[in-house]
């Protein structure tokens, strides 16, 4: 199962503190091994070219390095990641930012299912849409507060079991009058907040979710994250903040507190 390690000299070309790695033909393990060594060598900017499905990119990196990915990274991009800033010049697949602790993932395209699953920290910006179960069981801890900003829309179970953090759905792909399609939004949610621009019907929301109007604090939080989103993708933040946002919050901090009796 274990692949032969590739000697550093034979692959990448280095210049100062940056490096370009041609990922064509590399296995997941080979690519991550190169990344691990590049970071250990103190490199700060890493460019991955011709990425094609390699998984877990950035997973055990704990430095604030910048990684630019060209091509299509595979599942679990940045899972368990602790610090790097990844830009995907293409689409991300499933599990992007899975159980991430710190760092940033910017996707210049769309991302698949379970984007930001169980993330505890860091920011994920997806220009287009995300798949099913995005931000499921996202949490927060002390000063760590993850955020997932989605330019387009999301599929079912968005924010299910969400325990903390912020999700913003901007609905940019929706045509006038078109509604978000996700159902079971925030089912079992018991922390954090989802800001949604555009319309949803009540039946699309989980039983444990309440709808609130935004207050000044919400607008400040929204403004800051949407501002960042706009800078990444060269949009006008002002335009993105127009239109009606709703805030989805947990109705109960203990959604399942009344489920049980002592036997």
């Amino acid at each position: 199962m274990t692949a032969e390690r590739i000697p550093m000299e034979s692959g990448p070309v280095t210049a100062m503190d940056s490096i370009q790695i041609d990922a064509a033909g590399l296995t997941t393990q080979q690519l991550n091994d190169l990344l691990r060594r590049a970071v250990a060598d103190g490199l700060k900017k890493i460019e991955l070219r011709n990425v094609c499905g390699q998984r877990y990119i950035g997973t055990d990196l704990d430095q604030p390095v910048e990684i630019d990915i060209y091509g299509t990274p595979g599942n679990d991009l940045g899972s368990f990641m602790d610090g790097p800033r990844i830009r995907v010049h293409g689409n991300a697949q499933d599990g992007c930012g899975n159980t991430m602790n710190q760092g940033e993932i910017v996707v210049y395209g769309h991302a698949g299912d379970i984007t930001g699953l169980s993330a505890r920290g860091g920011n994920i910006f997806v220009r287009d849409y995300v798949g099913y179960r995005a931000a499921i069981h996202m949490k927060e801890y002390q000063e760590q507060k993850p955020a997932l900003v989605i330019g387009g829309t999301a599929q079912d179970f968005l924010g299910e079991y969400m325990a903390g953090g912020t999700v913003i759905v901007l609905g940019m792909e929706l045509k006038p009058g078109e509604k978000h399609r996700a159902r079971f939004i925030g089912t079992g949610m018991h922390g954090g907040a989802i800001y949604l621009r555009g319309e949803v019907e009540k039946y699309q929301l989980g039983k444990e979710v309440g709808v609130k109007e935004l207050d000044d604090n919400d607008r400040a939080a929204l403004g800051s994250l949407v501002g960042e989103f706009a800078r990444h993708f060269s949009y006008e933040a002002e335009g993105l903040l127009q239109g009606k946002f709703i805030k989805l919050v947990p109705l109960y901090l203990r959604p399942y507190g009344r489920l049980y009796a002592s036997g």
Binding site: T2, D60, D82, R120, K139, A163, G257, S262, G263
Partner: protein, 501 residues
């Protein structure tokens, strides 16, 4: 609402011995003993007694005894008292009945129907007092074949990471938050002293126990509590928890009142919030997805640690185990229907899953048939009560066993099944600081070390008696087992012959 539940226990207080010292009042965390202010006398509220024996054992004058209430219902094999009282409880609460510990029902306990062999005349037994006995077990994926350098005989095959344990007994997953920090520390220290491992469970590892990382299995469960890079790197083995024997197929809810500041810091969630573990891991809906998390964990730790996958023993455990082995796991932990828990719906604890003995045999048989038994180590859990059970599990096909309840009993647990209340009078399954200090890690670790030492000595005696000098020689060696009082089908699944055959 007036309760129709009768008392379960009677507290007998001998007035001739009671010195009104109130030790029983202070020791009882269920408020079953109190001082009556009007009469200025220590009395009992028997409706609160759970039968944990804390007061009995701490009464300085031995004035107390606890007995089951003699209140009888009319005989009825169908409508037994427990069934009637569960209905009353639900009629008064409207909830899912929670309970703690493992299945207490009279499902067949196959350990009690299996007997071990011994040498007589035709091959000599070995005296462990004068000959070396090997209990060391290596956990991890073994290669299909080995190649060695001709001449030097150096190993050329690159081995997957292996973890040596000096006794084939590990401490089962008990999460911090369900059990107290002092229990975790007792387990960690005992594991370190005995050269084995303890399992964090799904609640993370307190920073002060990181120094025991070499003796720690770090669990990754659906809630991903406390899972961060330091945690993944500190342990010796990583374990993906898919399920547990006490509650196959469902998740867990640690109520907010058990999430103290320290528990919150270790789980990395805000204090006082419910810690909800969803039923599935939402990135695992298939064997392929499982393979992905296994690989992600290996990548995250640079292929330095074996990855274990723990499942509850269920009907298709053998086929699932095959998938787990093929997904790249190094270890499979199988937890049978008698496995314990800090809290589970009673109806699930008592009705879901299969006995561990049958599961070990089925999984071992299946993996051998497929020629992949070497690819995984098998750890059996759920109802291992003594060293005899350990050896029977190994003879059926396990590499090692997890013990949970037995370890807690060593710490004082009397299996009163009140874990879910968070009021454990023995200070084990609680985060109430007044109670948790009842476990002293110095004493706790010593009691656990003593238990493992005693079992190790017994295992050596039994192995020697069978003419074996290494526990690895017994693994899957079912000829050393015979069945008593079992049907042909049971014998066939267990892969053992009837005693006498």
């Amino acid at each position: 609402m007036k309760t129709y539940l009768p008392n379960r226990f009677i507290v007998e207080r001998d007035p001739a011995r009671c010195i009104q010292c109130e030790v029983c009042v202070n020791q009882c965390s269920f408020d079953a003993n109190y001082r009556d202010a009007d009469e200025d006398e220590v009395r009992s509220r028997e409706e609160n007694c759970v039968g944990c024996h804390r007061c009995v054992l701490f009464c300085p004058t031995r004035a107390l005894n606890i007995r089951r209430t003699p209140l009888d219902y009319r005989e009825n094999a169908n409508w037994r008292p427990e069934i009637i009282e569960d209905i009353i409880r639900q009629a008064e609460s409207g909830g899912i009945l929670l309970t703690g510990m493992g299945n207490d029902k009279a499902h067949p306990i196959y350990w009690d129907h299996l007997v071990l062999n011994a040498s007589q005349v035709t091959n000599p037994s070995i005296d462990p007092l004068r000959e070396p006995m090997e209990l060391r077990t290596y956990l991890g994926r073994k290669p299909d074949s080995l190649t060695v350098e001709p001449g030097s005989l150096a190993l050329k095959t690159k081995l997957a990471p292996q973890v040596a344990i000096e006794v084939p007994i590990l401490f089962s997953a008990l999460s911090y938050g369900a059990v107290s920090i002092n229990v975790h520390e007792s387990l960690a220290r005992a594991a370190a002293e005995m050269g084995t491992l303890f399992n964090t469970g799904e609640g993370g590892l307190h920073r002060k126990l990181y120094k025991y990382g070499a003796n720690t299995i770090c669990q990754v469960a659906s809630g991903r509590f406390g899972v961060h890079p330091d945690y993944l790197n500190v342990g010796r083995i990583l374990e993906i928890k898919i399920g547990q024997g006490a509650k196959p197929g469902i998740g867990g809810h640690l109520p907010g009142e058990k999430v103290s500041a320290e528990v919150a810091a270790t789980r990395m969630i805000p204090k006082g919030t419910d810690a909800l573990s969803p039923a599935p891991q939402h990135d695992i809906y298939s064997i392929e997805d499982l393979a992905q998390l296994i690989s992600a964990l290996k990548e995250a730790t640079n292929y330095t640690k074996p990855v274990s996958v723990k499942i509850a023993a269920v009907h298709n455990a053998a086929a699932i185990a095959s998938g787990i082995a093929r997904a790249g796991a190094d270890i499979i932990a199988l937890d049978g229907i008698r496995g314990s828990t800090g809290a589970a719906p009673k109806i699930i604890r008592d009705n879901v899953g299969i006995p561990i003995e049958l599961a070990i045999a089925a999984v071992d048989t299946r993996l051998r048939q497929e020629g992949i038994r070497n690819q995984v180590s098998l750890i059996a859990a759920g109802g291992i009560r003594n060293s005899g059970d350990v050896l029977k599990a190994i003879a059926l096909g396990a590499d090692a066993v997890y013990i949970g309840t037995a370890a807690l009993v060593a710490l004082g647990c009397t299996v009163c099944q009140q874990c879910h209340t968070g009021k454990c009078a023995w200070g084990i399954c609680t985060s109430d600081l007044r109670l948790t200090k009842r476990i002293n890690p110095d004493i706790g670790a010593q009691r656990l070390v003593n238990l493992l030492r005693g079992w190790s000595l017994e295992i050596k005696e039994m192995l020697g008696g069978m003419g074996l000098n290494a526990v690895e020689s017994l693994r899957g060696n079912r000829l050393h087992l015979r069945g008593v009082g079992l049907t042909d089908t049971e014998l066939e699944i267990l892969g053992v012959k009837m005693a006498g055959a």
